[in-house]
Amino acid sequence: MAFLIGCPNCGERNVYEFQFGGEQVVRPKPDAATLEWTKYFYVRRNVAGDQREWWYHKLGCRKWFVALRDTTTNKVHETSWPHEALS
């Protein structure tokens, strides 16, 4: 694994500078049913293909951002700040 990720702040860097934050999931409302919480804790889509996911530039600017990555080829199509990606 040696692909590059474009940090929205620092530019293209080696993937080893980043911490993976997993695929984007939506946290249930506080009063959601146990089943909904359980799904949120343990069930992931585990997409083979393009996925929106969290990355943290741990050895850089220490900021979280969202990347659109093809999980089968590790090609990172785009990265954006969370408020852009979520809006």
Binding site: M1, A2, F3, L4, N14, Q19, G21, R27, P28, P30, A32, T34, W37, Y40, F41, Y42, W54, Y56, K58, R62, K63, W64, F65, V66, N74, P82, H83, A85, L86
Partner: protein, 968 residues
């Protein structure tokens, strides 16, 4: 200068890389051998008369030089204690100690070669078939098999460690391969303005042209020239280009995502990231498959050319040549000119190549040339003494044999593009029937290929294609990932044709396909018969292509035999997967140097002066003890002690939403915490498990000071930021761990000590437990927290790290009259354990939640939401099966961290922390035990050093359970 090395040598020539003015002495098996500067271990030993270089992996058959290019495993030796060094590429160094391996007592007379006679007992896949039952038998034979097979032996521990540096490099265009295509591509790209790095695995640029003594007409930009002269011209141009950096003696062993090249450059590993990569790695000559084709003396024609032209070594006296294309003729002619007798050239193709100059010249010299003939058997026991050549009809072997005497059997089974790097990143391949080669195609974006790797063998075409590819690589730099331009190979018509004869299984049992692993044509046929008809499964079953050469010598023959036996085309047969490393790489080159940063606190020098024994604590070095931990602990209980706690993680959290942020992240309330107060808090992940704990101090309405455990600060900083990401929460988190030093002053006399150094009111009523104040201590601006997890009244002082030594010395001086002593992490562990304070991630693990850890009091489920709430609601309703409790031993035993809690001898729980308590004089600690036992006063058994001991469960700290001492 005459030397014993000269007997095996040819006349000196300008194109040779050896310098006969400089002799080098090395030892082989303890015996001196003379070589010349520029020689390899292999060329020097061959010139000295050595023919048997090694013993084979499985059958211990004698093996000699084969490829002379570092591809095959035939010449592996141990050099200066390092095993499996390729003799044919390892250059000689004065005093080098070379030892042959994998044989006893010597490679010349190897007792284990007896195995070769019992090859019938070792059929393909014999590991899967034999020694399975009875089970005990395998234990018996396994060490024997392990000793008899394999290559080399692991160096002794006292071998000097070779340090391999790791370097990072960047280039616009990286060119792999320093032959005519690579040099032309580098020159074209550099000429257009690109920064180029040219990687070549040889000591000097030129590739196969370095040993090409033939004349070539009308080379682009060079004109009529001999091969080695053309190499010299191109080399000089490359060396004078300011835009090209040349990396010689460096093999690119892997191509990874994002155009990252892994390069093994001896004492350095270079990780090169290039915008475009031109792969010009050439092609590899492959062996022919015939009976006893592994005998020493049977060599690839290019290997013989390297021996003769690069090192001036005489290969032998009489040569027998078997070829499937033009290459065999040129090699035969070179040997003829070197003074060898050429007994025969057997060409598998039906027609004499009348327009090939080398063939015509050989014929003019009266050399016997036999079209439609193939080598079918080498004669000899330990070394080749002759060969049998058989007539072919429609590619099939007939009964018409002719026998020839000769000590050099030169074989050329055609060329296979060295396209492994391209395939590592996903390039496809296609079999070209005219070339009889499998060429790469459909290159991934960012990659180019040029020259022989594309199946182009005409030198003019190679140079032209190299130049064109260099221009294309440069042009692609400007565009935004424009589609890879179609390779130039289409416009270059195939100039060579080749044909390889069908392998006839009846021709003998010793027709080796894979020399590394001793796999024969019959083994492959048998594997197919047994149902392993796919190359991928057949590879795993037969171990073919799995040796050190990774298929470079054998994949082509393997694929052809598989295609022939299964009746499928070469494309249908396909290829095994190409993975790094392309060439053998030492583990050190991959592992790199140990790079472990260590942090020292600003008081580190003082700890060492005090004779502290240091211990690793995550990235920090901390004093574990200065003397006796029990005495250090007792001094805290009775007088006053100080401990350097600078390693605590420290976060500065500010902003109008800081209270809301902490309420969300901690299980406890922090928005209700009043400024000037401190509260202990636990952070859970969203599934309710404990991540970390620490104190939170509210310095102002919108300003908190957070401490984390030593190892967690980076994780917790990231965690804080993650929950803010994408929200409109207005808060800012900053890691200030290194900026602040911290000392904990604790004990009944801590107040008296501190009062001498500060105007801050530290009286019982003026500075209550769990409060904070800011003020000067010993003249240094300090945040004072009245907390103390050691169980005594105490203060945690946080102040600028620059004043570490000053503060420490001031406290030691002020406390001298009260008997102040420093204490280390071990005393601290005893003291905090007496107070039943857990250490997160030591007493808890990634499955522990605060409910089961007996810390319900920190969980405020009445808060509408916090991270982990959903799971903790569930955990309250359905508690786990074990709980974390305290225990006190009934007898004098002291369990260890990790001692099992048992019922009978069955483990039912585990001790996480245990020490001897100075307060009660007994072993005590924390343990996870089943819920039904987790009640005050119940009895449990703990296994300590093989014996069970009784302990009483306690839910209260053994020291000051009411916490009155803390508040005094």
């Amino acid at each position: 200068m005459a030397s014993p090395a000269d007997r095996g040598r040819l006349a000196e020539q300008g194109y040779q890389v050896t310098n006969r003015a400089k002799t080098v002495a090395l030892n082989i098996n303890g015996r001196p051998v003379h070589a010349y500067h520029g020689d390899t271990v292999g060329s020097a030993l061959y010139a000295s008369g050595m023919r048997i270089f090694s013993r084979s992996f499985k059958y211990h058959r004698s093996r000699g030089l084969l490829c002379v290019s570092g591809q095959c495993a035939n010449c592996l030796v141990t050099v200066d204690g390092i095993p499996n060094v390729r003799a044919c590429t390892e250059r000689v160094v004065e005093g080098m100690d070379v030892r042959q391996q994998n044989a006893w007592p010597s490679v010349e007379h190897d007792a284990m070669s007896i195995i070769d006679r019992f090859d019938r007992l070792m059929p393909v896949g014999f590991y899967y078939k034999t020694f399975h039952t009875p089970k005990a038998f395998w234990k018996l034979v396994q060490p024997i098999i392990r000793r008899m097979t394999g290559l080399g032996s692991v160096p002794d521990k006292d071998q000097p460690v070779r340090h391999i540096r790791h370097e990072y490099a960047h280039a616009d265009v990286a060119v792999v391969g320093g032959g005519p295509a690579g040099m032309s591509a580098a020159l074209a790209a550099a000429g257009a303005g690109a920064q180029v790095m040219l990687i070549d695995d040889q000591p000097s640029l030129g590739g196969h042209l370095r040993y090409d003594v033939a004349s070539h007409d009308a080379l682009p930009g060079i004109g009529k020239s001999k091969g080695y002269e053309a190499a010299g011209r191109l080399r000089a141009e490359v060396e004078s280009s300011a835009n090209i950096v040349v990396l010689s003696d460096a093999s690119a062993f892997g191509l990874y995502d994002g155009n990252l090249l892994g390069i093994d450059a001896g004492n350095r590993t270079v990780k090169l990231r290039a915008k475009r990569i031109v792969v010009a790695t050439g092609s590899i000559e492959t062996p022919l498959t015939f009976d006893r084709n592994d005998l020493p003396g049977v060599m690839l024609t290019t290997g013989l050319q390297r021996l003769m032209h690069l090192y001036g070594v005489r290969p032998g006296s009489t040569a027998i040549v078997g070829t499937t294309g033009d290459q065999g003729y040129q090699a035969a002619l070179d040997m003829f000119h070197a003074g060898l007798r050429v007994a025969v050239v057997a060409d598998a193709r039906p027609e004499f190549p009348a327009d090939l100059e080398a063939a015509v010249e050989l014929q003019a010299h009266g050399v016997l040339i036999l079209p439609s003939h193939a080598l079918t058997r080498a004669e000899g026991v330990k070394k080749a003494v002759g060969a049998v050549v058989t007539r072919l009809e429609d590619g099939q072997i007939t009964m018409e044999e002719r026998q020839f005497d000769g000590d050099v059997i030169a074989m050329s089974g055609g060329f296979q593009p060295a396209s492994g790097l391209l395939h590592q990143l996903g390039a496809g391949s296609k079999y070209d029937a005219v070339l009889d080669e499998t060429v790469p195609m459909e290159l991934p974006a960012g990659l180019h290929s040029a020259g022989e790797v594309n199946g182009v063998h005409d030198l003019s075409a190679i140079i032209a294609q190299g130049r064109q590819t260099g221009v294309e690589a440069f042009a692609a730099l400007g565009g935004n990932g424009s589609a890879n331009v179609a390779q130039a190979s289409q416009e270059v018509s195939a100039t060579t044709t080749a044909v390889s004869p069908q392998v006839d299984m009846a021709q003998g049992a010793k027709q080796f396909v894979c020399f590394c692993e001793d796999v024969t044509a019959r083994d492959i046929a048998k594997g197919i018969d047994e149902g392993f008809a796919d190359v991928q499964t057949l590879k795993r079953y037969s171990t073919v292509t799995q040796g050190p050469c990774q298929g470079k010598m054998c994949h082509r023959a393997f694929a052809k035999i598989t295609a022939g036996q299964t009746g499928r085309s070469m494309d249908e047969t396909g290829a095994t997967t190409s993975r790094p490393p392309m060439t053998p790489v030492s583990l050190g080159a991959l592992a790199g140097p140990s790079h472990r940063p260590i942090k020292h606190t600003s008081m580190d020098r003082l700890h060492r002066e005090l004779g502290a024994r240091m211990i690793d604590s995550n990235v920090w070095h901390r004093p574990q003890m200065y003397g006796s931990p029990q005495e250090e602990a007792a001094n805290v209980r009775q007088g006053v002690g100080i401990i350097d706690v600078s390693t605590l993680g420290k976060l500065d959290v500010r902003g109008v939403d800081a209270p809301a942020l902490l309420d969300k992240l901690y299980t406890h309330h922090f928005s209700t915490l009043r400024p000037g107060r401190v509260r202990y808090g636990v952070i859970c992940s969203d599934n309710g498990t404990i991540m970390d704990d620490g104190t939170v101090t509210r310095l102002a309405d919108d300003h908190y000071f957070v401490t984390t455990s030593t190892a967690s600060v980076e994780t917790i900083e990231g965690w804080f930021k993650w929950w803010m990401a994408g929200t409109d929460m207005c808060a800012h988190v900053m890691d200030i761990t290194s900026g602040l030093a911290a000392i904990n002053v604790a004990g009944p006399l801590a107040r008296e000590t501190l009062a001498k150094l500060t105007d801050v009111d530290v009286s019982v009523k003026g500075f209550r437990y769990m409060r904070s104040k800011q003020g000067e201590v010993a003249g240094v601006p300090t945040t004072l927290l009245r907390i103390g997890f050691v169980g005594e009244s105490g203060w945690e002082l946080h102040f600028p790290a620059e004043y570490g030594e000053h503060m420490w010395n001031a406290l030691m001086e002020a406390g001298a009259e009260f008997g102040i002593k420093p204490f280390g992490t071990e005393a601290q562990r005893i003291l905090r354990l007496e107070k039943m304070h857990i250490i997160t991630n030591h007493d808890t693990d990634i499955l522990s939640n605060p409910i089961d850890a007996h810390m319900e009091w920190v969980v405020k489920l009445e808060k509408r939401d916090f991270i982990g709430r959903g799971a903790l609601v569930a955990a309250t309703e359905n508690p786990g099966r074990t709980r974390l409790v305290g225990f006190v031993m009934q007898d004098g035993a002291v369990p260890h961290d990790g001692s099992p809690v048992v019922a009978g001898f069955a483990p039912i729980g585990k001790v996480t922390s245990s020490r001897l308590s100075p307060t009660i004089g007994k072993g005590f600690g924390l343990a996870w035990i089943p819920v039904d036992l987790a009640e005050e006063g119940k009895s449990i058994q703990i296994l300590v050093d093989g014996k069970t001991h009784d302990a009483d469960v306690t839910l209260e700290p053994v020291y000051d359970p009411d916490g009155t001492k803390l508040r005094e």
